[in-house]
């Protein structure tokens, strides 16, 4: 079933409907056309909910426009907006993206009472002493001893990892999870990484495992592709 219109093209797939919206007309024209197009179709009462994906092409939507579009589709019963995709993003978002995917290199000792926080990934050349804390929105790599607290993915990124040359942390935190050192005295381990495993717990294991557990860790593209 392919319905060809001036500005709106609807494609039906097994997963639901996909709307391809023209990106050169005015937004109001687009809304009018979409409204008309959707009112052609009658949906039966007993039909299951249909998910709708929207492709905007090269159109950028403001928050209000985004909301308008969603309300319009939501007004039709049986239609649920699954996602709106666009080829373009705002400058602010792009900068945010870049910052979140950048690796900050810092060479210093984080001492007791000090808190060091970065946007993106942190590469620390130095130690984190007991009582010291580092935080990053992304991953944390420590070329030195982690004897304090490290918190990766502070904005909720559960994919974030913490890697240290020497691991003897007081606490490891990733996103909203945390794990603490055992109550007995431990020796500390070399070349280990901490990540959230399938059971939603922070696990510490050999850093070679990172390649298997987080294959998307390579390079800048991962952030762009993952959004």
């Amino acid at each position: 079933m392919v319905l060809k219109n001036q500005y709106v093209m609807i494609k039906g797939t097994r997963d639901g409907l996909t709307l391809f919206l023209d990106d050169s007309c005015s937004f109001n024209d687009l809304l009018d056309e979409l409204d008309k197009t959707l009112s052609h179709d009658e949906f039966d009462e007993d039909q299951a909910m249909i998910t709708v994906k929207i492709h905007l092409g090269n159109r950028f939507l403001h928050k209000e426009q985004d909301e308008q579009l969603r309300t319009l589709i939501r007004q039709r019963n049986k239609l649920v907006v699954q996602g709106i995709e666009s080829n373009v993003i705002s400058k602010a978002e792009a900068i945010q993206w870049k910052e979140d995917s950048e690796v900050r290199v810092v060479s210093k000792t984080i001492r007791s009472g000090q808190v060091y926080q970065v946007q993106g990934d942190l590469l620390l050349i130095g130690d984190i002493n007991p009582g010291g804390t580092v935080k990053a929105t992304g991953n944390i790599y420590i070329m030195g001893a982690l004897r304090g607290v490290a918190h990766a993915g502070i904005n909720g990124n559960r994919q974030a990892v913490i890697i240290a040359s020497f691991m003897k942390p007081v606490q490891l935190r990733i996103a909203d999870l945390y794990s603490r050192a055992p109550d007995y005295e431990t020796e500390g381990v070399y070349m280990e990484c901490g990540f959230i495993d399938e059971s939603e717990k922070i696990l510490i294991d050999r850093l070679q495992l990172v390649a298997k557990k987080r294959p998307e860790l390579n390079g800048f593209e991962r952030s762009v592709l993952n959004g």
Binding site: T109, R111, S112, G113, Q114, D127, N129, P130, G131, R147
Partner: protein
């Protein structure tokens, strides 16, 4: 060129005052003009350890508030002509002293003395800020205990924000047999965590307590373990003006004391 050195630790009871008194004495023994400055307002001890309590007429608060001249408040040591003490006040509190007034006093003292050694109070509040205000260098004293090392680490972190050269470390109260048995942090462990230069180590010596109760710093005695340690540290401080030799100097002191401690077992 005069130097102001602050002796600090964060934690109380690790030996700041004892270190101040003994380094002052040891530097005076090496013919340097030294002024000891007690900034622990309300809990003054340095005068007691130096045995000069009975000579106090004016104190540092009197100077800060203009009740006397700086020279009037200085107490000459009973043993050395070139060793002086600027005592703390016992009746005021730490807020009566300001960093600015300390900076001013140190600037004036620098005209007269080679070394001004500042005894810092425990804690990281106003008293600490006063003590570090005018200092050029800092010596962080710690004992081989976790809590003490933690506080020393905190202090080193705070000192980074001051206009002070990288602090040097003195590890005090070392009990060699406990270090060997693993019941105490070793010197290596402490230095590894704090990652600053080690200036010296001092054994936990009963003579230190005996001497301080007599009001006579242990560095005065010719051949106790602690007095040798303190005099070695003093030499190391003098050696700092010769940067190329400093590392070897430290090694020398280190191994000497180590050898010395080794004799005990």
């Amino acid at each position: 060129m005069a130097e102001a050195i602050v002796i600090t630790s964060g934690k109380g009871g690790v030996g700041k005052t004892t270190t101040t008194a003994n380094l002052g004495t040891a530097l005076a023994l090496l013919n340097k003009k030294v002024c000891l400055m007690d900034t622990d307002i309300g809990l003054r001890n340095l005068d007691v350890v130096m045995g000069l309590e009975n000579r106090i007429i004016y104190d540092i608060i009197d100077v800060a508030q203009g009740r006397c001249k700086l020279k009037q408040a200085l107490i000459k040591d009973k043993r050395f002509d070139y060793l002086f003490l600027l005592p703390a006040a016992q009746t005021s509190d730490k807020n009566d002293l300001t960093p600015d007034s300390v900076v001013e006093m140190i600037a004036e003292l620098k005209k007269e003395f080679d070394y001004i050694i500042i005894d810092c109070p425990a804690g990281i509040e106003q008293g600490y800020k006063n003590a570090v205000a005018g200092a050029d260098h800092a010596i962080v004293v710690t004992t081989p205990e976790k809590s003490s090392v933690r506080d020393a680490d905190r202090i080193i972190g705070l000192l980074e924000h001051e206009e002070i050269s990288s602090p040097k470390l003195v590890i005090n109260r070392i009990r060699n047999h406990m270090m060997k048995s693993g019941d105490m942090l070793t010197i290596d462990e402490v230095v590894q965590v704090l990652s600053i230069d080690l200036l010296g180590i001092v054994a936990d010596d009963e003579d230190v307590i005996k001497a301080s109760n007599r009001g006579e710093p242990v560095a005065f005695q010719p051949n106790t373990k602690a007095s040798i340690s303190y005099r070695n540290i003093a030499r190391r401080i003098l050696g700092e003006s010769v940067p190329l030799q400093s590392l070897e100097d430290e090694k020398g002191v280190f191994s000497k004391v180590k050898r010395f401690l080794g004799m005990r077992n």
